[in-house]
């Protein structure tokens, strides 16, 4: 058996086996303090290895496998670590039905969690990284795991934040305390690097947080910092669109989203100045007052 390590990633246990040093070393770096003894049960058995034959050596590539199955085409060996992270995203979103999973960042401060759904290129991860370097707790940069029990809570993953291109130098320059994995050039997303989750976020990874706000961020070069209320109906629809398993979970998922928008303030947010964005978010968390009881805000036609 190849060398391997076992990781506790939020509610999941992951076993990674590989004979590629950069994979295990990189995973140990990105998930420092998350390595665990061999568990009784593993959610995802991941292996990463060079393909057999020529491409194992000439312009070498790497394959990602889950339970021996390769869902993706191989990538250049130099992209092995990003591939592990992207592959783990796929493992969670394709197989986990214990949560309603939304493509969104989630951060928390003063007990108030904000869900930030956004398409790629919207500046979500940059904003998320800046917030967690500025005192917010990281629950997730990519996947919001919403409980199905009606509590309106998000379960943390506290995985590394994937930053791309100029965002890497922007965050590392503005927040020198931030720790990064290696920069990987020329991926399909450009140059990427993963910022490690802050130690406090990892320490509190079993502490769920109640959603109090849903914010759709969008970076627009030169734009003023603007935040305005957004319709709950359209917010619910967009959350469903950004979900990976809304259609699988059915009415249970609808009720979860209904509860989340009932208990949240919903906003659109445009920004270009990171400092102003950070200030506004800090002010926002002081102002947002949780709605008391879903029934108060519910209006059934």
């Amino acid at each position: 058996m190849n060398p391997h390590l076992n990781l506790k990633v939020g509610p999941f246990t992951v076993q990674v086996s590989s004979n590629i040093a950069v994979v295990l070393d990189g995973a140990r770096l990105l998930y420092s303090d998350r390595e665990i003894a061999p568990p009784d049960f593993v959610d995802f058995h991941i292996s990463m290895a060079r393909p057999s034959g020529l491409r194992g050596w000439w312009r070498p590539q790497v394959n990602f496998r889950l339970d021996g199955h390769a869902p993706f085409k191989p990538l250049p060996l130099s992209q092995a670590l990003p591939m592990f992270e992207w592959g783990l995203n796929w493992c969670i979103t394709s197989h986990c039905l214990d949560y309603l999973i939304i493509h969104a960042a989630v951060v928390e401060k003063n007990g108030q969690a904000l869900v930030m759904p956004a398409p790629p290129g919207s500046g979500k991860s940059t904003l998320c990284a800046a917030l967690v370097c500025n005192g917010w707790r990281l629950l997730s940069d990519e996947l919001a795991l919403l409980k199905l029990d009606g509590s309106g809570e998000v379960v943390p993953l506290a995985r590394p934040v994937c930053l791309k291109n100029e965002s890497v130098s922007l965050i590392s320059g503005r927040f020198p305390q931030a720790q990064f994995g290696p920069v990987c050039n020329d991926t399909i997303k450009g140059d990427v690097a993963h910022m490690l989750a802050p130690a406090d976020s990892v320490f509190r990874v079993e502490e769920a947080a109640k959603v109090q706000g849903v914010i759709f961020p969008r970076y627009i070069k030169g734009a003023e910092t603007q935040l305005w209320l957004r319709s709950r109906a359209y917010t619910l629809l967009e959350l469903a669109k950004q979900s990976f398993n809304f259609h699988v979970l059915g009415e249970q998922a609808y009720q979860v989203l209904r509860g989340v928008v009932d208990q949240s303030q919903c906003y659109d947010f445009h920004y270009s100045d990171l400092e102003q964005a950070l200030q506004l978010f800090d002010e926002l968390v002081d102002e947002v007052e949780p709605l008391t009881g879903q029934g108060d805000s519910q209006y059934v036609l």
Partner: protein, 104 residues
Amino acid sequence: MPDIGAAAARWRLVEGVVLDGWPDEPEAVAYNRLSGDLHVIPPPQCLFLKHIQQGPLTTEELFARLDVSDGEAVRSIVSVAGLESRLAQLAVLGVVAQSHCARD
């Protein structure tokens, strides 16, 4: 045998559709528990659905129930044909359907 030809075609909510809204917002959402389809229903269509939810209605019966005090969107519905057109849009979405049924 009942003479269904004699009964007028009435609009009703499609089976499985639930409507939810918020008192401070003009839009509502329609979720179909059977298909999983989810739609935002803008005004005045959500007002139509509010009436239809009480029981099946013909287009004429629904038109008679619309009240100009319900807002600008309702005032834009000036004819039964205009209302029929809006209802047809909801039918395409699978939110309402017509059937020959007597009122409850």
